[in-house]
Amino acid sequence: MAAGAGASVKTSHRELYALLVKTGRGLGLPIGDAQDAARAAAWLSLRGYAGVEAMLATGPASAPARPRIDDSVADVVGPADGRSDPASGSVPIGTAEVVEMVSAGGHGPGLVDLVAAGRGSLVLRLSAVDSPLLLFGLCASAATDHRLRFELTVGSGPAHALDGFDCRPRPPRLLPQSSPLTISCRPVDAEQLEAEPRRWPTEEISVDDDTWSAANELAARTYVPSDERSRMKGAGAGLTDND
């Protein structure tokens, strides 16, 4: 599953996830968002999408101010809401819209949570996303966690049905940032859901060298420079151990 031409690094799902958590932190994401974004990117990579690239395309550093959600959204998704019946998979009745550029890594987890919390009572419209593909990955994670099936529409394109296993039809490789994205979901029961096993997949992932290096460079932003003092203070017998 090569993500690009030329030399590539073979990695595992677990190793990639661990790296991308650090990459996300290196991009400036808080740890919780970095974990979710990394999980989404690893999910994408395992299925042959450009997951690492999707991760690299996001980050709060380039994101404008946080999106503002209509205050009425809280009323729509609250558990005391009597205007929807998630168990029956009713038609979504609330809409939230974000017009500013959305950071998929920084805002995506929270936005996907919002849709998931509604369990079918909310449709979310995003005018622009810095890394639309990463949102697909975030929705896949939420689908697994909450037994949901998501539906994502990019611009005027077809609706993509997304569960924890895969996305049909597969999204195009290039998703412009400026294409509006609509996200909704509905609950599914255990028999309906083609549930991805709740464990890390084992297939090998290939990441081209440049992308791998870029991810590692960002991860390196989380490492503290070493000096003689910190080196000597490190846990261990000392710089040599011939006991």
Binding site: V9, T11, R14, A18, I31, L114, R198, R199, Y223, G236
Partner: protein, 579 residues
């Protein structure tokens, strides 16, 4: 645990009691430990270790392969012994070279694979590996003992038992990598295989095989040095030698980054204890067994010698307390109801080391009661966030289960004195002083208590009075930095033993306590702390040797009850008996 028989049990010890760092830092290995369960499974499976490759020169350098069939699959330890200058020998993560390096290979490697690993394994983190490489490790010689053993064997003598007893290993592993690191296999490649689904199963298998290699190596060198006179290690010394491990800060973050797994380990441990405590009586077999073990424990404690003053003092106290307890437990003790529960109660006014030693000791005579629980120590799930939870509900959870955290004053410099970080220096985990060292802005997220307190503060001071029924999802949109803490709070609600009840960035935090807790679950003993940040331990000390494990099953002997000769499960808290 729903698959287990419905054993009666008393109430579990509270997580607030068990998950205190000072208690965790007093844990002892039990029969539930990963090494013990591996050996039992190897034995029952009738495994046999072969050595298809032995290409070691007269000085002990070269390559070797050990293969073992286990659960219907073959796993091979590929070992490389390489020259190392004394000035390059360090156990720290920043090391660039080692005395030996290892890969646990999935199957039996051919010549091309061995050549590939001969290039990669000695380079460790600097190389990339393949999914057929399951575990990556390295080990350094305990120079004193290694050289002494060779010297004596070459002379036709056995090594000094006092030296064997005080050091306990020929080599020390300094890292055992698994689960995808540097390109090696994801754990899930093999976790579904028979007998491989226990925690750290592949790692424990690797270390056990390395142990055998180290003994073969010293015997080989001695034989080459003195072909006519050299002897092999006598069996009791061989069995007593384990594999050392230098455990530093790298192991500590695991306890934080795997909350559900930690919960399951602790839940099993406490459930086992609750079952034993509920036993109405002690049958003659378990009474006799306990008496035997009690005597061994006394000798083990006598042989447990460390330089660290704090630990030495604790061991001194423990020796006295253990002797006192044995005085109190006469024959009549066992005739009264619930003797095991009363023994645990009796230990409660003694040191934490004594309390936890008693916990381990009462489990030991009860394989039928507790061993089956080891199958519940894995976890196939990751923590998830429940976005529809209301803020009021979240706040109440924090106040009920994190009261110890929200009571901390992080404006007090001592409570935020430290920060955990990863150094650019070979990614070595380190602990910094926030008030003296640079890098705190890059700290690793081990400051869980502080984060939960900050979350609680923001929940208390919401801008809108009616926001209590607001779902967490909308709160996190405005405050995404609380996502990590919110998820941890929700995880603890369903997994009561998932969090250490301690401020891990406070100046009173002793990382050594975290290390000992995890190492005890591995099955390590003879903790030899060298500072607050690292310890040496011995793994597999007293454990069966390769030619002992599986022998009975292969010969078709009845596996129930104790077999004549060596019992492959009887090596808890080993001692070196006189010849």
């Amino acid at each position: 645990m729903s698959g287990e028989l419905a054993w009666p049990q008393v109430g579990l010890r509270s997580p607030d009691e068990v998950m205190q760092l000072d208690r965790m830092g007093a844990f002892f290995p039990t029969r539930l430990s990963f090494m013990r369960s591996l050996i039992r499974d190897l034995d029952a499976d009738g495994c046999q270790v072969t050595r298809p490759v032995w290409e070691i020169d007269d000085d002990g350098y070269g390559r070797a392969v050990y293969a073992v069939d286990f659960g219907g699959h073959t796993y091979s330890l590929v070992a490389f012994s390489t020259p190392l200058a004394p000035e390059d020998r360090t156990d720290r993560v920043i090391a660039q070279a080692w005395d030996s390096s290892y890969v646990l290979f999935d199957g039996v490697p051919g010549p091309a694979e061995i050549d590939r690993l001969a290039d990669a394994a000695p380079r460790q983190e600097a190389a990339r590996f393949e999914p057929v490489d399951l575990i990556l490790s390295r080990a350094n010689r305990s120079v004193r003992l290694f050289d002494h053993v060779i010297e004596q064997l070459a002379l036709g003598h056995q090594p000094d038992p006092d030296m064997i007893r005080s050091i306990g290993y020929l080599m020390r592993t300094t890292a055992v990598y698994a689960n995808g690191k540097f390109g090696i296999a994801d754990r899930n490649r093999y976790a579904d295989r028979p007998l491989m689904d226990h925690p750290f199963r592949a790692e424990m298998l690797t270390v056990w095989l390395i142990r055998g290699f180290t003994m073969d190596l010293v015997e080989h060198i001695a034989a080459r040095r003195s072909p006519a006179a050299a002897v092999t290690l006598e069996r009791r010394l061989r069995r007593y030698l384990g594999i050392g491990n230098a455990t530093g800060l790298g192991m500590a973050p695991f306890l934080i980054s795997h909350p559900i797994l930690i919960n399951n380990w602790m839940l099993v441990r406490e459930t086992a204890l609750a079952r034993v405590r509920a036993l109405p009586a002690a049958d003659p077999g378990s009474r006799q067994r306990f008496r035997q073990l009690a005597a061994r424990v006394g000798l083990h404690l006598d042989q447990w010698q460390v330089e660290d003053e704090r630990q030495a003092s604790r061991i001194d106290v423990l020796r006295r307390e253990w002797a006192d307890l044995q005085e109190l437990i006469g024959d009549r003790w066992w005739d009264e109801p619930r003797p095991w529960d009363r023994l645990v109660e009796l230990s409660q006014d003694r040191s934490l080391e004594c309390q936890e030693l008693v916990v381990a000791a009462v489990l030991e005579p009860h394989p039928d009661v507790v061993d089956g629980l080891t199958s519940c120590m894995t976890s196939g799930v990751e923590p998830t966030l429940a976005p529809a939870m209301t803020l009021d509900e979240l706040r109440r959870l924090i106040e009920a289960q994190w009261d110890w955290a929200i009571a901390l004053d992080f404006d007090d410099p001592s409570e935020a004195a430290r920060f955990w970080y990863v150094s650019e220096d070979n990614l070595e985990p380190r602990l910094g002083n926030r008030h003296l060292d640079d890098g705190a802005e890059l700290e690793e997220p081990l400051d869980v208590a502080r984060r939960v307190k900050a979350l609680h503060q923001d929940l208390l001071h919401r801008p809108r009075p009616t926001a209590g029924s607001e779902p967490l999802a909308t709160f996190l949109l405005a405050k995404p930095h609380h996502r990590y803490a919110a998820r941890r709070v929700q995880t603890l609600a369903d997994h009561p033993y998932s969090e250490i009840r301690a401020n891990l960035i406070g100046e009173r935090c002793l990382p050594i306590d975290m290390l000992r807790a995890k190492l005890s679950l591995f099955g390590a003993a003879k903790f030899d702390p060298k500072s607050d940040l690292w310890t040496r331990v011995a793994l597999y000390q007293g454990a069966p040797l390769a030619d002992e494990v599986g022998a009975a099953a292969r010969s078709g002997a009845d596996s129930g009850g104790r077999r004549p000769g060596f019992d492959c499960d009887d090596w808890w808290l080993p001692v070196l008996e006189p010849r």
